[in-house]
């Protein structure tokens, strides 16, 4: 008997380490089965977290401790149980909200968007717009106003007809309002609420949103108008290469020959058409939520081409949750709009204080003949020849 007991004691010593090892494997023992610091850190790093340990903890009455015992539920589910059920879409929920997003009540994957929108995107806004204004101010200090070099003739030639100017001003005025109201929506929470308070910002933001949503149609109409009337004059040709090689004479002086639009203006035209078109498309996606889902399909196509792999990146997320489509559309809409705004800053500068005689083109429609000869020599020659032959005919 004594030998048997000694054998048992020996075997127990062998089993103990195994039991200890098994206990060590249970990584959630320290939190009583709840999530651990490691889980939280993985989530913060955007890594996948195995949530099987809590997915089912949604207040199932059959699995709950009896209400007569200590720590038993008082009937129903606790708040954490309810929120877990919502997070993992297993809750029995009724809603009057329709649409695809109604089924995703808690969106884990939206946190990165929120953090990016409130952090990096606001910094990008400040650096891009502030940097462009600073660069233009420096350019003005170094180069000064670009004057008409030759002697003014006192004669003018028509540069833009009334309909062209109408299209331009419709686009310009809608863009300026859209940019201002867009910036209010983008940075208002961080900049305006601390200054003016929540109530004042609420009024401004509501009005701003209404204006932004409705003026967008005028922008789209104007974009179509300027595309139709100017696309022929903005097709690239050989004169553009020469103009670009000489930097348009902006820094070194001189006036490289140009047609109705020089290469710089053509670049701005195509930037407005392409970026403006992209802003319009993403804006429509935001205006009619969940109706035009552009990003999931695009990501899937890019993944099928293996494009992310060319840059050593993982595949782009697909399929996307309904809210994610809107989040990507919002980021795209904002970032492309900021780039276009920076370009338009330069356009406004050169069309106003940056160059003598430039504003007349859009202000009155007529420009000083000498200005036209210096900045658009090929176009000016054509117009003057036509004018002369018309005069001779009459």
């Amino acid at each position: 008997m004594l030998r048997f007991l000694a054998l048992l004691a020996f075997m127990w010593t062998l089993v103990l380490p195994v039991t200890a090892q098994e206990a060590a494997v249970d990584t959630r023992a320290s939190t009583g089965g709840a999530q651990t610091l490691e889980d939280i850190l993985r989530r913060q790093e955007g890594l996948k977290v195995d949530d099987s340990f809590r997915r089912g903890l949604t207040g199932d009455p059959d699995a709950a401790a009896p209400i007569t015992e200590q720590l038993g539920t008082l009937g129903g589910a606790s708040d954490p149980d309810l929120w877990r059920a919502l997070r993992f879409s297993s809750g029995d929920v009724e809603t009057q909200v329709r649409g695809p997003a109604a089924t995703t009540l808690i969106q884990n994957r939206g946190i990165w968007w929120l953090e990016f929108r409130e952090g990096a995107l606001l910094k990008l806004t400040a650096y891009l717009l502030g940097g462009t204004l600073l660069a233009l101010a420096l350019f003005y200090l170094i180069r000064g106003r670009i004057r008409i070099d030759g002697e003014k003739t006192g004669r003018t030639i028509t540069r833009f007809k009334a309909f062209e100017r109408f299209g331009h001003w419709l686009l310009a005025s809608s863009f300026i309002v859209l940019a201002l109201t867009g910036l209010i929506s983008l940075v208002g929470r961080k900049l305006l609420i601390p200054t003016f308070g929540h109530e004042a910002f609420s009024t401004v933001a509501t009005a701003s949103k209404w204006v932004h949503n409705n003026i967008s149609w005028a922008f789209i109409v104007a974009l179509v108008i300027i595309f139709v009337v100017w696309v022929v004059h903005n097709l690239p040709d050989r004169t553009d290469l020469n103009w670009l090689a000489k930097g348009g004479g902006l820094l070194g002086g001189g006036h490289p020959p140009a047609k109705k639009f020089n290469a710089g203006q053509k670049l701005i035209f195509w930037a407005v058409i392409i970026l403006g078109g992209s802003i319009s498309a993403s804006g429509l996606s935001l205006l009619f939520p969940f109706e035009f889902n552009m990003f999931g399909h695009t990501f899937s196509t890019l993944n099928s081409w293996g494009l992310p792999g060319w840059f050593g990146a993982a595949d782009l997320p697909y399929p996307l949750q309904p809210q994610e489509e809107m989040q990507y559309a919002q980021l795209w809409h904002s970032i492309v709009s900021l780039i276009l705004t920076a370009i338009i800053f330069a356009h406004i500068y050169l069309g106003s204080i940056g160059m003598e005689g430039a504003f007349d083109a859009m202000g009155k429609g007529d420009v000083e003949e000498q200005w036209a000869r210096e900045h658009h020599s090929i176009w000016a020659d054509d117009v003057l020849k036509t004018k002369q032959s018309d005069a001779e005919r009459t």
Binding site: R87, F88, S89, S90, D92, V93, E94, T95, Q96, V97, R98, G99, A102, T103, T104, L105, I106, Q107, N108, R109, A162, F163, R165, F166, G167, H168, W169, L170, A172, S173, S174, V177, W210, V211, N213, N214, I215, W217, A218, V221, A222, F288, P289, Q321, G363, G365
Partner: protein, 46 residues
């Protein structure tokens, strides 16, 4: 400046017109995003 002023008028007309057209076509947020009765939402994996 006549073109500029005309563009501003067009801006207002297009904006108000588009707003009214969308509202009357049932594209308001309330019309597009809600129903009169409660609907039970299905499960969708996150």
């Amino acid at each position: 400046m006549k073109s500029f002023l005309l563009a501003l008028v067009a801006l207002v007309v297009i904006s108000l017109g588009a707003n009214q057209m969308l509202l009357r076509s049932g594209f308001s947020s309330a019309d597009a995003g809600t129903s009169e009765g409660n609907v039970r939402i299905g499960s969708q994996d996150q």
